[in-house]
Amino acid sequence: MMSDPEKWEEIFKYTIDQTSPDQERKEQMWNRLQSTISGRGQKRKQVIRFGWQPHGRKTFAAALAGTCVIAVCLLTGVGVNAATDGALLDSIREFCGLPVQQKKTADEGLKLKNEVYAPELAGCSEKYVVFANERALIVYERQEKKLLAALDLQAMDCNYFNTDSIHTRALLQKDTIYIFNEKKEQQPTQMYVYDLKKTDVSSALSVTEDVRKLELVYREWKTFSAENSLDTFSGMADGDYWNSLINSGKDGKETGVYSQQCIVWTDRAGRQYRSALVIIGGDDYELYSCPADDTEKISKEKLLVQTYSDEIQTETATEENTQHTGLPEFAYQGDDEIMKLVCDYMIKNRNEYEYLENGGIYIYVPEPVIVKTVRTGNDLFIFGNFWWETYYRNGNTLMSDSGSEMPARLHFVSYGNGSYIFKDKEVAGDGSYYGTSIREFCEGYQVDPQKLMDTAEAHKKIRIKMLRDYVKQNHLDIQYYKDYGWDPVALDK
């Protein structure tokens, strides 16, 4: 008799099996497809008709038909204006909400990894939710339940979040968003202004250097920051509530992250609310809100932040370097034989660090500081601190995800043909054994153990060199790397 788990799996598979279309249905679908293809080839005047009839439930079929029209029109970009007038294209764009480039930006912003918190909630009102991260500023229209705008903050050089000395600020006032950089609490020298009432992207965004305007907006932002921006953990619900949200994996619950700050806002009736951005399971965006006078009463609003350009990423993810997927693997290509030996060894053994857990969206970069090599006959001992880090891509920036140092002695053996085979290693111990263990495996080799420990400065240099070479060798359009909580570092300096 089959066990319970085996039984239900077999039931499941059998049931799915029965749904496979029979030959007749497959032929019908094929004929319909051929008809559509030949119809498009003739550039008929009527908008895309795929040759199907609305099925049963009109409302759903209408939505599906609308989506098909839009999907095909935007994907192909061909024939729509020829087949229809420009008004249809405009209405298609309006339906979808975003022009193509903004869709790409929205996609990358929405999919950027959330290190600790959800993206910063920059503004909230009855009408809008505005949030931002190191990639994009996203505006969501609550009543229409759609994305209204996605600004490329990298292109605007206004993507300083989770940084040290320079921070990007955004202020929502009615239908206008102000975006500027604040350096060491100094008034900005220029500011972006985005008019949410304008549908034409090119005219909606402007830059101002008007000193009086800058002073006024900066002052208003400081007031807002002091009075309307609260720590979410203490400003809404209680700590246990948020801790249970970020609890990973227990009882089948998905991990959630919340915006570090919640926004205090007022509706037309004068009622005050507090709202925080929450992301469940990595891609379900929600707005958690509570009345300002009853912070335990949390209501949840799902944000339909539709990602339209998934299909673009689907096509290119395995081949091209888009967003943070599909980065080519790191390989040392320099002339230093010892460095190559070490890097190849570290890369080969990277699985120890669960590099592949995230489906290869990270690159593993060895950044070893080699202190000394000792050759004894066929034995080669390499002493150093074998730093490594993993990165993912955020547009023009490599974001550091994790990493570690590893003071160690690597032992290779040569078999006379110039190549080396790894034999064994001694690595530094943890805690109080750290220094002792390093001294022990350095003893007898005339290696200063302190040099294996004081490698921070040398690591910085090797790190930037490795990343610079990696970007150059792979012809990547990447200009910075960034650690969480620190400013981006330019690779070309």
């Binding site: 994907l75 339940k145 089948g252 689907t314």
Partner: protein, 175 residues
């Protein structure tokens, strides 16, 4: 991916024959309706045709097809949510009916799950993808997928148990 200037109809038909079942089944799992699954077949293959995509190998082809189908289905579901301001539970009744009681129960149980659980159960148990492979297709961390898979499996089993449909001596009927 290479893009060719011409995609011969014969090659396209061969691709269609290889993948139509997969697209149809996945769309059926996600959208819950045979007619919508047929529409999804049109959308996905039309995209392949319009973009004139050629694939490295069948694995690549399958992964691309599945991802495109998944994404299109998600767009449709969200488009429905936006237009009707409703939840998935308010969507029309499913258009799947079988003479086999067991199959109906399984479908109803599937319908009770959110789309992200349905697609995961389908890809994992039916298409046979490993969790590691699914991280690339579904763009989620392995730990997230493990959690979701466990949750989806548990919910499905609960529904089947409620219906009293995990009998001791279940045997296949018909085919």
């Amino acid at each position: 991916m290479k893009k060719t200037n011409d995609t011969p109809m014969e090659d396209f038909q061969a691709l269609y024959n290889r993948q139509v079942n997969r697209v149809y089944r996945l769309a059926l799992v996600m959208l819950g309706s045979q007619s919508d699954a047929e529409d999804m077949v049109q959308m996905v293959f039309l995209k392949v045709w319009e973009k004139k995509i050629s694939f490295r190998d069948t694995d690549h082809e399958t992964a691309w097809i599945l991802t495109a189908t998944k994404n299109q289905c998600k767009d449709v579901l969200k488009s429905y949510e936006r237009k009707h301001c409703g939840t998935l539970e308010e969507m029309p009744e499913p258009g799947i009916a079988s003479e086999n009681h067991m199959e109906n129960v399984v479908w109803l149980a599937l319908e009770s799950l959110e789309p992200k659980y349905r697609i995961l159960l389908y890809l994992y148990y039916y298409e046979g993808y490993s969790i590691r492979e699914l991280t690339a297709i579904l763009k989620r961390k392995e730990s997230t997928l493990q959690t979701q898979l466990a949750a989806g499996r548990r919910k499905l089993k609960e529904e089947l148990k409620k219906a009293g449909e995990i009998p001791q001596n279940w045997e296949r009927e018909g085919k």
